[in-house]
């Protein structure tokens, strides 16, 4: 494995290095990373990969792939040879950001006779300290032909990067839930939804009435138009806050409701400092005021879910101002902003 060069990406505050390894090393070190991810994208264009298979047999140079580490020990001053030895030691911690299908194809082809294991595979590595910035880069600078949808990308990061147990919350997928329900565990799809909304800085990221393709397009637009800010928190703060508040029954019950969770998460993008500093008791008091105001506000069932999402977002987004409101003032505020 060899690193040729590196540079510093000022926008995402990360080191980008470029290098190559042999197909043998790629199959040995990188293909296990794919099976590690629980997530499998459908072959989007079978013809394309059939072509690639044939080309590899014929000795083409594979389009380069991109790996990523969420890591802050590699910085602007790290020497190239240090990056090389870091990769040798820690490659298991990396994940494939772009090129899963190409590596899959490579693995398939390698089982054929006369496969050239010594051929080079070029790659980029991104070392970035924050997951959010990485996601931002993935979505804004898609280097694939047919980009993964933002939803897929979030799913992938969820599967690879977040250690929920360590962060202090229980997360279960639909499948695991079918086996055995853990009490007080969050729905994985709800957390994914919350993350997507967090990145898009908008609580509305799903709409059953709009077909997925068009919706993905809208989400990408929202994410791209959300400027990454340096002083902003990151999604880990949201998880940490949930972990902290969930000790009280009222709190976890409230947070487990998908619309609340999404509204709260996106609100934290703006108010992470104030909210992280709350005690579980203070948080409980806040949501009690919210609930009272919300039920007095009495939105029609026709838009109850949407309202819950938007108003919990509004409440936590402007928490520094709204935290001192009593139920009546909050109710007044809700009817003002909804113009109803």
């Amino acid at each position: 494995m060899k690193i040729y060069d590196k540079d510093f990406d000022k926008v995402i505050n990360g080191v980008v290095a470029s290098g190559s390894l042999t197909y043998r090393e790629a199959i040995e070190k990188l293909t296990p990373l794919i099976s590690k991810t629980e997530f499998q994208r459908k072959l989007q264009d079978k013809k394309f990969y059939e072509k690639l298979e044939r080309d590899i047999v014929n000795g083409c140079v594979m389009p380069q792939i991109t790996l990523a580490f969420v890591e802050n020990s590699i910085n602007i001053d790290t020497q190239i040879n240090m990056i090389e030895s870091y990769f040798e030691k820690e490659h298991e911690k990396s994940f494939v950001l772009d090129g899963i299908q190409r590596l899959n194809t490579l693995l398939r082809v390698s089982k054929q006779e006369h496969f050239d294991f010594e051929k080079k595979l070029y790659f980029n590595i991104i070392f970035c300290d924050k997951v959010d910035k990485l996601l931002y880069r993935m979505i804004t600078l898609n280097n694939g032909q047919k980009p993964m949808t933002p939803r897929h990308q979030v799913e992938m990061l969820m599967a690879n990067v977040f250690d929920f147990e360590k962060l202090g919350i229980e997360v279960q997928s639909e499948k695991e839930r079918a086996d055995k329900v853990k009490i007080n565990s969050f729905n994985k799809s709800d957390i994914e939804q919350a993350y997507l909304a967090y990145m898009a800085n908008s609580p509305m990221v799903d709409n059953k009435k709009i077909i997925q393709d068009k919706m993905d397009e809208l989400i990408v637009n929202k994410i791209v138009s959300t400027e990454p800010k340096n002083d902003s928190g990151n999604f880990e703060d949201v998880i940490k806050a949930i972990a902290k508040f969930q000790v009280k029954t009222t709190n976890i019950k409230w947070l487990k409701q998908a619309n609340n969770l999404v509204g709260f998460s996106v609100g934290m993008k703006t108010s992470h400092n104030q909210i992280l500093n709350l005690s579980p008791d203070e948080f409980e008091k806040s949501i009690e005021i919210f609930e009272k105001a919300f039920s007095d506000f009495n939105p029609s069932k026709i838009k109850l879910g949407k309202m819950r999402r938007e108003l919990s977002f509004e409440y936590f987004k402007n928490y520094s101002k709204l935290k001192d409101f009593d139920t009546y003032e909050l109710l007044e505020h809700f009817s003002d902003i909804t113009n109803d």
Partner: protein, 307 residues
């Protein structure tokens, strides 16, 4: 019976009946059932969601309407059941709620009644692959609602103080008519909705005669304001912003249905289009979809006033 009598009898019975393929024998949600509930608001909802059969009592034909035009873009309902109706509403709404809504929905009956027949005509013509005819009825609906919908919407706001402002913004500065009034209303009211921010793809592949595609592609392009075009591929597709599509509908209608030579506008020559049904084929369904999305918002607005 003489001729006069036949005519009178025909007028007295409705030509079309709306049959409910979902609630055949189910009596539980009878206010959702078209045969039980005569409310035109229910009929409009069922027509635009593609969940009814229409019987032409005069000819005897039954049309299965399955294009779900509340979805964006239009999706075909493969299997229709109660859930098809439910999934178009907020997750908290139950069938019992819907049943109750449509029992009590009495607002704007005349308004809904006035578009019902036109909508049926448009959907049937579309089914019969008469795309130009379908377009004509679609256009008639748009003209018919362009003034009343904004008024209905504004008059039902809880805070009358705000309505003056709203009205003012719909009127704009010039005397530019009801269609522009309606456009401003749509822009102002729905600008934050996902459908408004999304776009419509005109698919030239729908034109069956391949040789006509380049011609039609150019003609469409000429009639769409450039700032509404998001993307295009020669003779293949044109991607238009939601609100720009409305302008296109109006423009196509104006250029096709007028033939004055003295004005600056370039009207279509019939020799240009050759097959008008083919010309309108990639246009009409998106138009019905566009209108249905707005109609559904109005229906929801009426329903949400029911407690």
């Amino acid at each position: 019976m003489n001729c006069w009598n036949i005519l009178v009898t025909l007028q007295m019975i409705d030509r079309y009946s709306i049959l409910d393929p979902i609630a055949r024998n189910n009596t539980k949600y009878k206010h959702l059932k078209t045969e039980e509930n005569p409310s035109p608001i229910l009929n409009i909802f069922r027509l635009i969601s593609g969940t009814v059969n229409i019987k032409d009592n005069y000819i005897g034909t039954t049309y299965k309407i399955r294009d779900n035009n509340i979805k964006f873009p239009t999706e075909k309902n493969i299997k229709i059941k109660y859930e098809t109706l439910l999934e178009l509403f907020d997750e908290n709404v139950t069938l019992a709620d819907l049943n109750n809504f449509f029992l009590k929905a009495r607002l704007n009956k005349k308004f809904y009644r006035s578009i019902e027949v036109e909508l049926i005509k448009s959907l049937i013509a579309y089914k019969d692959e008469k795309y130009l005819e379908s377009f004509i009825y679609l256009y008639r609906i748009i003209e018919g609602i362009s003034y009343s919908i904004p008024l209905i919407f504004v008059s039902k706001k809880d805070d009358y103080n705000k309505t003056y402002h709203d009205m003012q913004s719909y009127f704009g500065k010039d005397k530019d008519g009801e269609l522009q009034f309606f456009k401003r209303f749509v822009s102002e009211t729905f600008k934050d909705e996902d459908f408004y921010k999304s776009n419509i793809t005109i698919d030239l592949q729908l034109v069956d005669i391949e040789e006509l595609r380049p011609k039609y592609y150019d003609l469409y392009l000429k009639k769409i304001n450039e700032r509404f075009i998001l993307d295009k591929a020669e003779n293949s597709y044109i991607k238009v912003k939601f609100i720009g599509y409305y302008d296109l509908l109006i423009e196509l209608r104006n250029r096709f249905f007028h033939n004055l030579k003295g004005t600056w506008q370039e009207n279509f020559e019939s020799t240009e289009l050759l097959f008008p049904d083919q010309f309108f084929k990639p246009i009409t369904l998106h138009g019905i979809n566009w209108l249905s999305i707005i109609l559904f918002e109005i229906i929801k607005f009426d329903l949400q006033k029911i407690k």
